[in-house]
């Protein structure tokens, strides 16, 4: 690896905003943060990155990516998913466990971590709460936590059984007590209400003749987990909240002092169920796209801190599977490469707050603030991205690094583009091109 100097940019990190150059040495650590850095003093093998007019920020952290490996490599692999992440400015991502086989044992965890070692970004993996994600027996969380797994979720489904969820929470607390700070994350969907639904139940599902999932199918599980969290003392992280009701429930719980965290995806603050009118299954996702009021509530949730972070729920699916009839197609959309641009374009929040949602907060929730999402200071590992906040571009799915093409933003004009991404000192993306 060569040394790097990022020159001419404005730094925005949890400690504030300042104009400074950043120097990174071949070990991957930041060695200087000063107004003007002369690269001559750094040896012959130095790469200078011109970042004039740009902003440097800690690399983004995604708490919700589907990397499809093992099992569905035709849709994405850990490596191709990590390339998408790097192009989107992410330096760390959390893989979801709904692979084939599910990530519910040390053996599969090891396999994923090995595959992730060669990636462009840091790949962390979650583990399933229940065996096979079937919802009837607890998975060996301790064994997986010993390998570094910090987040447990059955994502793809929620844990339906109340008693089992309570036990999972109590057990997780026990692991915390042994110095393994595990976090339970929930995909909130009450199947008895949502079952058979393929989009939001409402005006559009009625018009299109498609069975719907009512907002309450998500809210009922949010309510349950808040109650169980209060009962057991566990901390729950709510994944991909999508309804105004869910946001309000979390808001009230936080106001009442209950520790919990929440994320929402880019598609849930940019798209509504009206998109389904084309019957294009690119717009089919779980939880589904909802109403304009729900979109407004999500945005308000970011602004007032109810929702802690943006997650992508990057969910690749082959073109053929997404061409199936709407009610037969698998749910999910791509997201890693477009998240930052959509957040900057649509959220109307100060840029530092946007980076907080994309990087600093998720790093804290994942427990990796020591290496990601922290202040840009001498001695810290160099996990950074360089963003041109004024660059206008149009989303073109054909130009994606993903193996899949289910991108709902084709043709959309956005502002804000990642120019470079540095992971542990290695420039994995330069001028918008992945270096490997």
């Amino acid at each position: 690896m060569t040394a790097l100097v990022i020159r001419g940019a404005t730094l925005i990190d949890p400690s504030g905003e300042r104009r400074a150059d950043v120097a990174i040495d071949p070990s991957g650590l930041i060695v200087a943060v000063e107004a003007e850095i002369d690269s001559a003093g750094m040896g012959s093998d130095v790469r200078v990155i011109d970042a004039a007019g740009c902003v440097v920020t800690p690399g983004f952290v995604d708490l919700h990516s589907h990397l499809r490996e093992p099992g569905k490599e035709e849709a994405e692999t850990i490596e191709s998913g990590s390339r998408c992440a790097a192009l989107g400015g992410y330096t760390a991502i959390l893989a979801m466990p709904n692979t084939t086989p599910a990530i519910d044992s040390a053996a599969v965890v090891r396999q994923v971590l090995e595959l992730g070692a060669a990636s462009l970004v840091d790949v962390h993996t979650s583990g399933a709460i229940t065996m096979g994600r079937r919802g009837d027996a607890l998975a060996p969380m301790g064994e997986m936590a010993a390998l570094g797994v910090r987040v447990f979720t059955d994502d793809g489904t929620g844990v339906q059984d109340d008693r089992l969820m309570r036990r999972a929470m109590e057990y997780a607390l026990g692991l915390r007590g042994r110095g393994l700070p595990v976090l339970l994350a929930q995909h909130c969907e009450t199947e008895s209400l949502a079952e058979g639904g393929h989009m939001h139940e409402g005006e559009w599902s009625s018009r299109l003749g498609i069975a719907g999932q009512p907002a309450e199918s998500e809210e009922l599980m949010v309510m349950r987990d808040l109650a169980l969290a209060k009962l057991t003392g566990a901390v729950v992280h709510f994944q991909h909240l999508s309804t105004a009701g869910s946001v309000e429930l979390v808001r009230r719980a936080k106001a009442a002092g209950l520790p919990c965290t929440a994320e929402a995806t880019t598609h849930h603050f940019t798209l509504t169920h009206a998109e389904c009118a084309s019957y294009d299954a690119t717009f089919k996702v779980n939880p589904p796209l909802r109403t304009a009021d729900d979109v407004a509530a999500i945005k308000a949730g970011f602004a007032d801190g109810t929702i802690d972070c943006i997650a992508t729920d990057h969910a690749p699916h082959t073109a053929e599977s997404k061409e199936a009839p709407f009610d037969q197609a698998p749910p999910g959309m791509l997201g890693l490469e477009t998240a930052m641009a959509l957040a900057l374009t649509e959220l109307n929040l100060p840029i530092a707050k946007v980076f907080d949602l994309l990087s600093w907060k998720p790093a804290q929730i994942l427990g990796i603030s020591a290496t990601h999402g922290g202040p840009i200071v001498v001695g810290a590992p160099a996990n950074l991205c360089v963003v041109d906040p004024a660059a206008d571009w149009v989303v073109d799915p054909a130009a994606s690094a993903s193996r899949s093409r289910n991108n709902p933003y084709r043709g959309r004009a956005v502002r804000g583009r990642v120019r470079h991404t540095v992971v542990h000192g290695e420039a994995v993306v330069i001028d918008g091109e992945a270096q490997r």
Partner: protein, 328 residues
Amino acid sequence: MKHLLAIADLGADEIHDLLDLTDSFVEVNERPIPKVPALRGKTIVSLFFEDSTRTRLSFETAAKRLSADTMTFSVGTSSVKKGESVRDTIETIEAMGIHAVIVRHASSGVPLQISRWVQGASVINGGDGWHEHPTQALLDAFTIRQRLGSLEGRHIAIVGDVKHSRVARSDALAFTKLGAHVTLVAPPTLLPPSLVGWPVDVSHDLDDILPKLDVCYLLRMQHERMTEALVPSLREYTSLFGLTSERADRLRDDALIMHPGPMNRGVEIAGEVTDRPNVVVIDQVRNGVAVRMAVLYTLLGGQPDPERPDPAPSRPTPIRLNPETATA
């Protein structure tokens, strides 16, 4: 008009044009030789992913009476069962050289998806999931027009499982576009969760509305609905919403009783009622062929005139052979 996918896409004018054209095809069907060469050389395929003998036969008869060649592709005997995707299926069929395809599928939206994949063929929706069944609505509207003169101002009730009914959706749209007043009659569990944007009234009381109706349109009540906890039992459904003899007596004599078929005698309609003169189910079926002929003729016809011509053919003035002022 390239495709016929939904009544929602049609304006009142377009519906009227199709119904006017249907009159001509009713006449053709009454000829000793009910066949015209208009679509000779055209190939029309029925692509039925969901079984339906009646609709398929109706379309095939329509195509044959227009002298088109027909092909049937039904899922039970085809490669679709072997896992071929809908897209591959339609692209294979189109490669054989077809001009129109009639699609029926259990999933809403498939005809629209197919219309995006075809290279030049016209797509006709033969019924998609719970969404629409446009030719059914056209033949229903035509039958009402034929019997009552016009739909303007008529009060039509659509009774039964509206939630799962593509016929109900298409009918409600078509009837209201033609000026009728539509009321959906069903228990709340059999209505769509949201009726925002539907130009209809709703009632849970069939008895209350019967004497006011010009048309009572009954939907099939399927046995599966019981297992989904949508109604307690078929018996209860019939006692509250079925067209029993007593209820049929309270309809006006000139009110029409309609049904898309096949009828569940004893459930949504009493056996005895089906024999009454104001039950026009046979007319619906007969008109179905003429309506489908009109649809095929329109879709496979010439390029649309950029300036839409005056729709009514000009009536030439009669020649007066013995005018008062002239001598023969």
